[in-house]
């Protein structure tokens, strides 16, 4: 049972345009959401996070939006740069019992120069 879903396995965007990566979750008890970026042969790199009590968090070119009623979050990258090309993972934190992260399957973003 996949509690965190990233339904788009890949996305291509022109340099300078906006990249929008989407993530859906099923468990309303998740209290914290994170985005990680992963390059080949490297571990995931923390990008940005959002608490369930907020609906938006912004950090430079990266903005995460949370829609709790729809159980949906999205990552916006503006403007997109070729160096942003990587696999992006959405993760939700389970705050009951163990503070573990539950990851989606990832979206491969390709920014075209």
């Amino acid at each position: 049972d996949q509690q965190v879903k990233q339904n788009s396995p890949s996305l291509s965007v022109q340099e300078g345009r906006i990249s929008i990566l989407n993530c859906d979750y099923t468990n309303s008890m998740f209290d914290y959401f994170l985005w990680y970026k992963k390059y080949p042969a490297e571990g995931p790199t923390f990008l940005i996070s959002i608490s369930s009590i907020k609906d938006k968090n912004e950090d430079g070119r990266f903005t995460v939006f949370l829609n709790k009623s729809a159980k949906h979050l999205s990552l916006h990258i503006v403007p997109s740069q070729p160096g942003d090309s990587a696999v992006y993972f959405c993760a939700a934190r389970a705050s009951w019992g163990t503070y573990k992260y539950i990851f989606g399957t990832g979206t491969r973003l390709k920014v075209l120069a």
Binding site: E42, S95, K100
Partner: protein, 112 residues
């Protein structure tokens, strides 16, 4: 400052063997978690340790075990290796069990 370091970076083992993976957390971080990432999937939670105590375990068989040392470094042990254990094993550290986790580069384990 050094990030999370894992050793070895790559490893090839034969079915039935045992393997030990090592992780050194970021200085000052007391929590270490282990994740398994199979090709095409997101990382799956295996264990979390905080202050040398197991705080959580994912849905993995008893062949998987771990421990955390007084210096907060950690080992992940896998016994009786199966082909399906081939994966990237990621270690993540955080200041506490509920704060943002920072990942190491991972250990690529191949079981043949």
């Amino acid at each position: 400052d050094a990030g999370v370091t894992q050793s070895p970076t790559h490893l090839i083992k034969t079915r039935g063997q045992h393997v030990t993976l090592r992780c050194s957390p970021i200085s000052g971080h007391k929590s270490v978690s282990w994740y398994q990432q199979v090709l095409g999937q997101g990382p799956q939670f295996i264990f979390q340790y905080y202050e040398k105590e197991e705080r959580g375990r994912g849905n993995f068989p008893d062949r998987f075990s771990a421990r955390q040392f007084p210096n907060y470094s950690s080992e992940l042990n896998v016994n009786a290796l199966l082909l399906g254990d081939s994966a990237l094993y990621l270690c993540a550290s955080s200041t506490g069990p509920s704060t943002e986790a920072f990942f190491g580069q991972g250990t690529r384990l191949t079981v043949v």
